[in-house]
């Protein structure tokens, strides 16, 4: 039987932002009011508080919910959804009617006899989270909140944490932080997304944030914030990118009381396992023992395969697409088989960028590669073969175009004009080459 978020939530959960304080208990108290008006398809865009507000009252009621991250607000919604898969867009600014529905103290007319006024059977509301597609257009993947909640350990009887939210709550990693708090009755501290990182950290310090989840690249920046040493952290979580030893060592040194958890998750397999031993990768012995009720093996291609947890007894193997390498007693992550480049937690498809740049005037051909970065994981390097007589000012024009039209992490860090693109002995180019030196 499906259980909705309201049934799974703990009363004590709360969300604190610079402008408001939201209690889960007050949302549970008014949830029944939404039963009749929202049995439809909705899209949600807005602050973390808005998202939690609407998810608690609509999960189990709405047919489907599309989550729109902050960066989508720049795009025209009709561009994103030419076939309009939702009936209503909800978010920060509610109508007067919607606001009164949320108001615990607002007295509503009792439902007429015979009208559906009590909570009936719970719908398995489909929650659509965006994921990066192979082209520039994002893909939406359906989940249920119940399924998303499965990997979250119930911290029954354990101390109540204050989780800082630095991710976009409309994306998988951010949703995990929100659910962690809502399910376990903890507090989420959600700073304003417009603030610079130093201001966010200052605010989190002032609110006694003791648990924080971020990518390794973001952690390196957090460590460089002057006030971050004052965060009373007892829980440090890393994910979304390959993690190296230097950042783990720095975190252990700065926050000796904190438990450090690295979460390994993939779009294909969900949350696979977590590592707590403060070393990169995972123990090679897990290839024999398994981890967190999944079995692990390395494919002939050198990628990690894991068994899928399914309701039936049948076990299927899923290729994560992550290239791994055994080094002594550790299995280390080396990158994506597809050649996808992870720039500080942001995914870049080199082919997509090449197509974009190839269309520019004066460009004959383009090759995008990754250069290792001790701060961002990878930086983008682009080699361009110019059309004859067009190389003058080409680098500047390409740079200008990228600054104007591409998100920051897709703007190439290094641009080189070359006479020809590199090939190997058989005239091919390998997606997994990295720029050396």
């Amino acid at each position: 039987m499906t259980r909705c978020l309201a049934e799974l939530a703990a009363q004590e959960g709360s969300i604190l932002t610079p402008t408001e304080s939201l209690q889960v208990s007050s949302l549970l108290a008014v949830r029944h009011r939404f039963q009749d008006h929202f049995r439809q398809r909705v899209a949600l865009a807005g602050s973390p508080a808005s998202l939690v507000r609407w998810l608690i009252v609509l999960d189990g009621v709405a047919d489907s919910i599309y989550l729109l991250p902050k960066e989508f607000s720049r795009l025209d919604v009709s561009q994103l959804f030419p076939e309009q898969p939702f009936d209503r867009l909800l978010g920060d600014s509610n109508s007067a009617a919607e606001t009164s529905l949320f108001d615990k103290d607002h007295v509503h007319r009792a439902p007429k006899p015979g009208m559906v006024g009590t909570l009936e059977s719970t719908l398995a509301t489909r929650l659509f989270l965006p994921t990066s597609g192979t082209t520039g257009v994002p893909r939406f993947v359906a989940h249920t909140l119940e399924a998303l909640s499965l990997p979250i350990r119930r911290a029954i009887g354990k101390s109540r944490h204050c989780w800082g939210l630095l991710y976009d709550p409309a994306r998988f990693a951010g949703m995990q932080v929100l659910l962690q708090a809502v399910l376990n009755g903890e507090q989420v501290l959600a700073p304003s997304s417009e603030w610079a990182l130093t201001k966010k950290v200052d605010w989190l310090v002032s609110r006694d944030c003791d648990a924080l989840s971020a990518t390794p690249s973001l952690w390196r920046q957090i460590l460089a914030c002057p006030k971050s040493q004052h965060l009373p952290l007892v829980q440090i979580t890393l994910g979304g990118e390959i993690c190296d030893q230097p950042v783990l060592t720095a975190l252990k040194s700065r926050y000796p009381l904190a438990r450090i958890t690295q979460i390994y998750a993939s779009t294909e397999a969900g949350v696979v396992f977590s590592v707590h031993d403060e070393k990169p990768g995972f123990p090679a012995v897990w290839l024999e023992t398994g981890a967190r009720n999944r079995r692990l093996r390395i494919s002939a291609d050198g990628t990690l395969e894991v068994t899928n947890i399914s309701a039936t007894a049948e076990e299927t193997w899923v290729d994560t697409g992550d290239v791994v390498e055994r080094v002594g007693e550790r299995i280390l992550f080396r990158g994506r088989k597809s050649g996808l480049i992870n720039v500080g937690g942001n995914k870049v498809y080199p082919e997509e960028l090449e197509t974009t740049l190839n269309a520019l005037e004066g460009v004959e051909s383009v090759w995008v590669t990754a250069r290792n970065s001790s701060l961002m994981g990878n930086l983008l390097e682009v080699q361009i073969v110019p059309k004859a007589s067009a190389s003058e000012g080409l680098v500047d024009r390409v740079r200008l175009y990228c600054r104007q039209f591409l998100p920051r992490y897709k703007q190439p860090a290094f641009i080189k004009v070359v006479n020809e693109l590199p090939t190997n002995a058989t005239g091919k180019r390998n997606r997994n080459w990295k720029t050396d030196e």
Binding site: A196, L197, T198, S217, R220, Q221, L223, A224, C225, P226, P246, T249, A250, K252, S253, V343, G344, R371, S373, S374, L375, M376, L379, R408, Y409, Q411, A413, F414, E437
Partner: protein, 71 residues
């Protein structure tokens, strides 16, 4: 991206006008210039917060690097 008028030791790197990618590019360019990356090589697990700390970080790593070379 505009840089500040002066570059004092207590300038906070994250507020210097460089964003995280520009900062990472700087570190790559410094590695090409000096032949080492202290964020990879340093025995001290720190991420400098100010310009003064950043310079000290590089000076210290350069010292370790030269000692290793002459050893």
């Amino acid at each position: 991206m505009k840089l500040p008028n002066s570059l004092p030791d207590d300038l906070v790197l994250l507020q210097s006008g460089l964003d995280s990618i520009a900062y990472a590019i700087l570190v790559v360019e410094l590695e090409q210039r000096f032949g080492f990356d202290p964020f990879l090589e340093s025995k001290v697990p720190v991420y400098p917060a100010t310009l003064g700390e950043f310079i000290t970080f590089y000076e210290e790593c350069h010292r370790q690097h030269s000692q290793q070379r002459s050893a």
